[in-house]
Amino acid sequence: MNEEHVYTVSELNRLAREVLETGFSGVWLRGEISEMTRAASGHLYFTLKDADSEIGGVRFRSLSSALAPVQIDQGMAVLALGRLTVYEPRGRYQFIASLLQPLGAGELQASIERLKARLNSEGLFDLGHKKPLPRFPRRIGVITSPSGAAFRDVRSVLSRRWPLAELYLFPTSVQGVDAPAELIAALDRATRFSERTEELDVIIFGRGGGSAEDLAAFSDEGVVRAIFACPIPVISAVGHEIDISLSDLVADVRAPTPASAAELVAPECTDLAEGVSLRVEQMTRAVTSKLLNRSERFRRDLRSYLFRIPGRKIETIEQRLDGLMDVLGRRMSEALATRTRRLTRASDLLRLSDPDLPLRRGYSLTFLKGSSEPLRDLSRVEPGSEIETRLEAGRMLSRVEEVIDE
């Protein structure tokens, strides 16, 4: 540089520009965006600063297209790659960014937190908007990638647990630039399918585990709003237990993983079968006690009537009555047997045919010692008789102290 030379302003600026452009051509720069304007031209002007200093910068539109569609916002910490130059007309030096991205996953998290606060204040996560899930879903929509672990898990859990279901997969990508738009389209498709073709009872919406960036589509504002607007109950199941996306918050139910979404969407069919067995037992008990009750009452009524008839006629009539009661009892058991046979054939639910069943319920059988015919009345018993009682487990011998005929 010649000390005698007097520069014009333009010359000096041009020289400074050459020096800066040569010396600072590939610079990584970290800072916080303090001011930002998007010009009509598409260029993005910003000021980057740290605690003590700041620098003006620009990202030209021509360089923007290659960038990830991440929202850059004021107050955001960013990492930029670029070069220094001088804007000669103003003599201002500035940073030209070819890459501008939020600084690390922490920043992604922070931007999700900001969105979360905004949507929360709009009421999108309010419990009052949550739709209840059906107890016994028949048609289940699944919005996820056809090749991912999520669909495999949902499918395998449901084929074991609730094979009565029909699964309808609405394939979509679940990560990358296009994922939010595809997820929104898949929700729309499922809604229209449900309205026009087969009504869906519930939708499982999600994907398997991945990095925070992989899961980001499930916290996209458009996706969250689409779930909110969906008329079908939605279960969100994104990533692992610890990952919470905004779709989890807006959905009607959040499941920690896709596999657990499949578990909470439907009951276990073996539980249901067990419940049916219990009902059958309950019905049988009710019917049996009704029949017993009825025959006892019948006998009692007749007795009180017979007391009014004088003389020896009573004995004869009582004998005939006993005969009648036997016939009635037999016919009742036959009726019961005929009707239970169908069920016994159809399933192994009903263990009525098992002679030990009453014993398992706590009833016992009593025999006169040495006899194989169970005792039904007192006709063969007197004080001092030895009797054998058979329980579910074990037998015991007793001696009769008193015979009480009621």
């Binding site: 669909f151 394939p171 049916v276 019905m283 029949l291 009707r339 069920l343």
Partner: protein
């Protein structure tokens, strides 16, 4: 009848059977119906196989179902 309807019908029958004032004929009829329902439900539970379809929309509003080939 859906399984949900069958289950609630079975529940209703059980409750009716437990009523004191039910006649003999009604008891037998209800019991018969209840056992039939129970058998039907059980058969349905045992016979079901999960159905899986992929829903594609080649042109807007026209849905096609395709079986899914998974590893």
């Amino acid at each position: 009848m859906t399984i949900e309807e069958a289950l609630s019908k079975l529940e209703e029958i059980t409750q009716n059977l437990e009523k004191e004032d039910l006649g003999l004929e009604e008891t037998i009829t209800l019991f018969d119906e209840g056992l039939g329902l129970a058998a039907t439900i059980k058969e349905q539970l045992e016979a079901s196989r999960l159905k899986v379809e992929q829903v594609l929309e080649k042109t807007h509003g026209t849905f096609t179902l395709e079986p899914l080939d998974l590893p």
